[in-house]
Amino acid sequence: MLDTFLTTLADLAESSGFASMTISNFIMIGISFLFMFLAIKKGYEPLLLLPISFGMLLTNLPMTGMYHPELWNIDGGQELDFAHILHNGGLLDMLYLGVKLQIYPSLIFLGIGCMTDFAPLIANPKSFILGAAAQAGIFLTFIGAALLGFNGQEAGSIAIIGGADGPTSIYVASKLLSTGGPFTVEVGTIALAAYTYMALVPLIQPPIMRLLTTEKERRIKMETLRTVSKTEKIIFPIAVTVIIALLVPSAAPLVGMLMLGNLFKESGVVDRLCKTAQNELMNIITIFLGISVGATTVADKVISWAFIKVMVLGVISFMIGTASGLVFGKIMCVVTHGKVNPLIGSAGVSAVPMAARQSQLVGTEADPSNFLLMHAMGPNVAGVIGSAVAAGVILSIIPH
């Protein structure tokens, strides 16, 4: 009997996670603790970084069976076997289906649309130019990713980090990295880089803003924006959806859901739907998205030179996007004979509302009586549309 008892204990020990732990698991668990610390203690995008980091923890605890990378890594020419995934997948595999089917990012955009006020953009449509300019970071980073040896799909997934939009990055990466593998990057590593740098916008942008603008330019006060009628606010989302969906159909899921949410908000007749979309639905999807994306951050994808390259390219992408927005802001300043403060150009990076807040803060340093926030919100929300359009363009151009 004692032998049976000892044998059972030995079998249990062998089948436990302790016996299967490797150095990589320890390192990844440590990294997940670091991201949890950043999310909880430092407040770096906690709504997504906390579930992502916990998903990272769960997937790197061995023998849990919650996530199976082998179910999702398919070679070129093959398709995902959803029946196999449903039969053999764990909890996080089931939740990850929403990412692979591009459901979560689109629904998050629905909630974002319900929370976004496009009035500053409608009042000053020229802000769209600044939103477009900031997307240069995406395409110029594509060059950098190509030079560092990534293939087209990987380079497109990395480049979209420059859009400074988490759901867009996840949407593009999940589409581009679905077939034609194996890849050196994963959706989780892309999301991790995107959300980390979104949280670091207050650190990344101000030095570039001070470098590329003069004191005199930072002091420019802009004219008060005109009042936008309710009818304009209702027609705007419909018009944007029609124009963008016809021009770049790949961008339709993101832009369409963003504008649907905004129409919910502006119409004023579906208050319940609007409240649900921006509260309960957004929170549920954030939990599912975060934890399932975090689950893809397995050791061999994070502890690699590819991940370091992704992190470096991510910060370069942000910097280029900020700089190109500022350059176009300066051009607009010259063209309008000093009526546009170039600082609002950096807000074209679609980290809403942090980028607009940075424009306000740097502008206030030069002149405490200068209120740039509402002017910067125009390019900021234009950047959301711009990054969604850029995502659609990348998905259209790069074969996958």
């Binding site: 130019i129 477009a132 395409f139 040896g149 380079a155 018009a239 770049v248 549309i385 151009i397």
Partner: protein, 148 residues
């Protein structure tokens, strides 16, 4: 010399790029930027046009209100023309409720005509951003409180 320089550059780039040619990368970058700018330029045109159309409609509505309600349009029992002035609508902070302003102006004109007093509208303001009660309910509440 230029050809040699180009060959050196492209050989360096070709070594670095795994599956992509420089031509492909250039195509992605330039066409991507072009399409993004074109799309957002179209949006600028569409939104600017929309703004101009609505500004035109509002200016036509306001020019109709500034003329004021003519005596023949308001059912007034006795209207001494010398004592009634056309109500002036001062700077309004509500941009899309011109019909409401017109109704208020007509009501004030009728009260002025009946009471014989000269009244002037200084401003029309919306009470609160998202009132939980209708404006009529608010007015009734204020009236009740005033009487107490």
């Amino acid at each position: 010399m230029i050809c040699i320089f180009e060959k050196l550059c492209f050989s360096f780039i070709d070594e670095r790029m795994r599956d992509m040619s420089p031509e492909y990368v250039a195509t992605v970058v330039f066409s991507g930027l072009l399409i993004v700018f074109v799309a957002l330029l179209l949006l600028i045109i569409a939104v600017s046009l929309m703004g101009k159309i609505f500004a035109l409609i509002e200016s036509r509505k306001k020019s109709g209100i500034v003329k004021g309600p003519e005596p023949g349009q308001i059912p007034v029992r006795s209207a001494p023309p010398a004592d009634v002035k056309a109500p002036e609508t001062a700077a309004v902070s509500v941009s899309d409720d011109d019909e409401v302003i017109a109704v208020i102006a007509a009501a004030v004109a009728q009260i002025a005509a009946e009471s014989g007093k000269q009244l002037r509208i200084r401003s029309v303001k919306r009470v609160g951003n998202a009132p939980r009660r209708s404006a009529w309910s608010n007015a009734a509440a204020f009236d009740s409180m005033r009487s107490v």
